[in-house]
């Protein structure tokens, strides 16, 4: 028997979902010099998808994302390791970081660190892990307690 969906929760999630994702991206980019970073950003993004799951169940969750969750994990890991390898290939030590700064016309001097790519990898890994959790423990794969073979 499907539980009744709460209208208030549905509307609130519609309002908050995209805001939460934007907040998670902000935390990701601001994480180098202020509180935040890849892990915090990934957790906030997972909260967004978790809200979708709580409001609508596993069907709403699987509608909200088209890539399988395990791909997030793999791509995130690749990002993180390749960031370290790039520094190896350019003659520095493994995981050595560099700071790039550029003078853009409207925004002024913009600085970014190569650690950002590592953080993006961490973000994707955390997001992928939470999506996998919600998918597996949320019963989306149809594990019915009465039909499982021990």
């Amino acid at each position: 028997m499907t539980p009744r969906r709460s209208v208030i929760l549905d509307l609130c999630v519609q309002a908050e979902f995209h805001t939460l994702l934007l907040l998670s991206l902000y935390l990701l980019f601001a994480g180098h010099n202020q509180p935040g970073g890849g892990f915090a950003g990934g957790l906030v993004a997972s909260c967004a998808f978790g809200l979708r799951f709580v409001a609508g169940g596993s069907s709403a969750l699987s509608r909200s994302i088209s890539v399988p969750a395990i791909t997030f994990l793999g791509v995130g890991m690749l990002f993180a390791i390749l960031t370290g390898c790039v520094s190896l290939l350019t003659g520095h030590e493994f995981l050595e970081s560099a700071i790039f700064s550029a003078d853009l016309m409207v925004l002024g001097t913009v600085k970014a660190s190569s650690v950002l790519f590592f953080d993006i990898g961490v973000y994707l890994v955390v997001l992928g892990m939470s999506l996998l959790l919600l998918e597996q423990l949320g019963g989306a794969d149809g594990t019915d307690p009465d039909e499982v073979q021990p």
């Binding site: 791909t71 793999g74 690749l78 390791i81 493994f94």
Partner: protein, 497 residues
């Protein structure tokens, strides 16, 4: 040259990421995994050659200078451990690919196996106490997945025990690191070696014993080993084999590293010797009481750990050299025994001594492989086990610890007894259970097992025979490793400059 040090960690992780992305193409996963492990094994052999020629090697991750940054240090001991563990991991991977049902319907087997390899490599090469914790957690998290892969009832039950005990040990490890940091202000091992020597001796003893307990849970020494025979036998055989051969030895490696580098002593340590004696004795007595091959061998893991702690507890060059050689010999022998047991299980469906019998006629190759590995475990000359045990016993006589040497000789005899019990029960005699697969075929027909499984086991037993053949050279390398361990000034100088 610094690339050699980081490759054993990067390559498996990169291969794991690729294997996750390619999770629906089993062949691609296998190629990536085997290729990465072959590259890592070759790299660790090169690393051993470099360390043998040039001494301790180190590299700072991220180019942050020591003692602030994370150091990767490889001395002779780490290089020996890396080589033998990477070779063993490669053989077990090939065995697992050959065994039907291990990786066919499990898209995460290869990524998780590679992540575990990366964790083991990192724990052998790191020179930073918190990085050791991270390496442990990488290995453990991957092992949690491997031990519950398959999701059947007994796997979940024993996997649960394994996870809870190791999570407890990890929490205690964090507490230990917090106390070490509070006492000294650093977590870099070379820096700790300098700073711990300046602490009051009560604080030193407290930190030393706490870290001994934490690593002792992982290494399964007395009185902390009770989780091991409960959880190891129920996983799939390649998983049990690699756990038996590697993961407890990582714990022993950490005990050796911390007890020699951070808390150096030059007299035999009573507590380590007593622990070693009790571990050996209780392990082998537990093995005698069992009736299933996997359980007997699991108890033997515990018993052999006792030998390694015995050699360490003597704190002499001969003792530690014996321990280093013993670990080097034990990793492939233990794994080979479990792989041979897996071959028996693959052909008959059971490993209980009461049910299986007469395997010497049905699978003579498996019987031969098991015989070679079992004789090496029991310490019969000319196999590598004999050299290892002889080294430790001679060191014991040299240090004057006759009681513990007596215990170890009796335990060796009992080990031989339980190996003969397995031999009689499984390979000689006749099968006693009519419901077994092997009894339904004609009674003298040869049973076949997949080629990759047999090939991997043959290769690993070949490695143990090679260790026996080159025991002289390897024992010299072990002595050099022991000297570097008991006198860590070269290590400290290489890291701190």
């Amino acid at each position: 040259m610094s690339v050699l040090l980081v490759l054993p960690i990067i390559l498996p992780l990169l291969a794991a990421a690729l294997a996750i992305v390619a999770s629906h193409h089993r062949t691609l996963q296998r190629i990536v995994a085997v290729g990465a492990l072959i590259a890592v094994a070759v790299d660790s052999a090169f690393l051993l050659a470099v360390v043998e020629r040039d001494g301790v090697q180190s590299v700072q991750m991220g180019a942050w200078p020591a003692p602030l940054g994370i150091t990767l240090v490889v001395d002779m001991f780490s290089a020996l451990m890396l080589v033998i563990s990477m070779v063993t991991v490669l053989s077990v991977l090939i065995y697992a690919i050959g065994q039907p049902g291990v990786d066919q319907d499990q898209p995460v087997f290869h990524p998780v196996y590679l992540v575990m390899t990366a964790g083991v490599a990192l724990s052998f090469t790191t020179g930073d106490l918190f990085n050791l914790f991270v390496a442990y957690e990488i290995t453990l998290a991957a092992s949690y997945v491997l031990i519950t892969l398959g999701g059947r009832r007994e796997q979940i039950r024993s996997g649960m025990t394994y996870i809870i005990i190791n999570l407890l040990a990890s929490t205690l490890f964090v507490v230990g690191i917090a106390w070490v940091y509070a006492a000294t202000g650093t977590v870099n091992m070379a820096d700790l070696a300098v700073k711990i020597a300046q602490l009051p001796s009560g604080t030193q003893t407290a930190l030393s014993m706490f870290l001994l307990v934490v690593f002792g849970i992982k290494a399964a020494i007395f009185p902390l080993f009770f989780w091991l025979p409960d959880s190891y036998p129920t996983a799939r055989m390649p998983v049990t084999a690699v756990f038996a051969g590697l993961l407890t030895k990582v714990g022993v490696y950490s005990i050796i590293r911390t007890q020699t580098l951070l808390f150096p002593q030059n007299r035999p340590s009573t507590i380590l010797l007593v622990c070693a004696g009790l571990t050996m004795a209780i392990g082998v007595l537990g093995a005698i009481a069992q009736n299933d091959m996997k359980r007997i061998l699991s108890f033997h893991i515990v018993s052999q750990i006792g030998y390694m702690i015995l050699g360490l507890g003597l704190f002499s060059v001969a003792g530690v050299a014996g321990t280093v050689f013993f670990i080097f010999h034990q990793i492939p022998v233990k794994t080979a025994l479990f792989l041979a047991t897996g071959l028996v299980e693959q052909s008959t469906g059971s490993t209980a001594l009461s049910k299986v019998g007469g395997m010497i006629r049905r699978t003579p190759l498996v019987a031969g492989l098991f015989l070679l590995a079992a004789l090496s475990l029991a310490g019969i000359p000319p196999f590598s086990g004999f050299v290892g045990k002889l080294g430790i016993i001679q060191a014991g006589f040299g240090a004057g610890e006759y009681a513990i040497v007596g215990v170890s000789l009796v335990v060796s005899l009992l080990t031989l007894f339980s190996m003969i019990k397995i031999w009689n029960g499984v390979f000689l005699g006749t099968p006693e259970d009519p419901t077994l697969r092997l009894a339904s075929a004609t009674s003298e027909e040869r049973l076949s097992t997949p080629v990759l499984m047999r090939g991997a086991t043959v290769a690993l037993v070949g490695v143990t025979l090679a260790i026996a053949l080159f025991a002289g050279t390897l024992f010299d390398l072990s002595e050099r490793a022991a000297q570097g361990l008991l006198d860590p000034s070269a290590y400290i100088q290489q890291v701190l400059g």
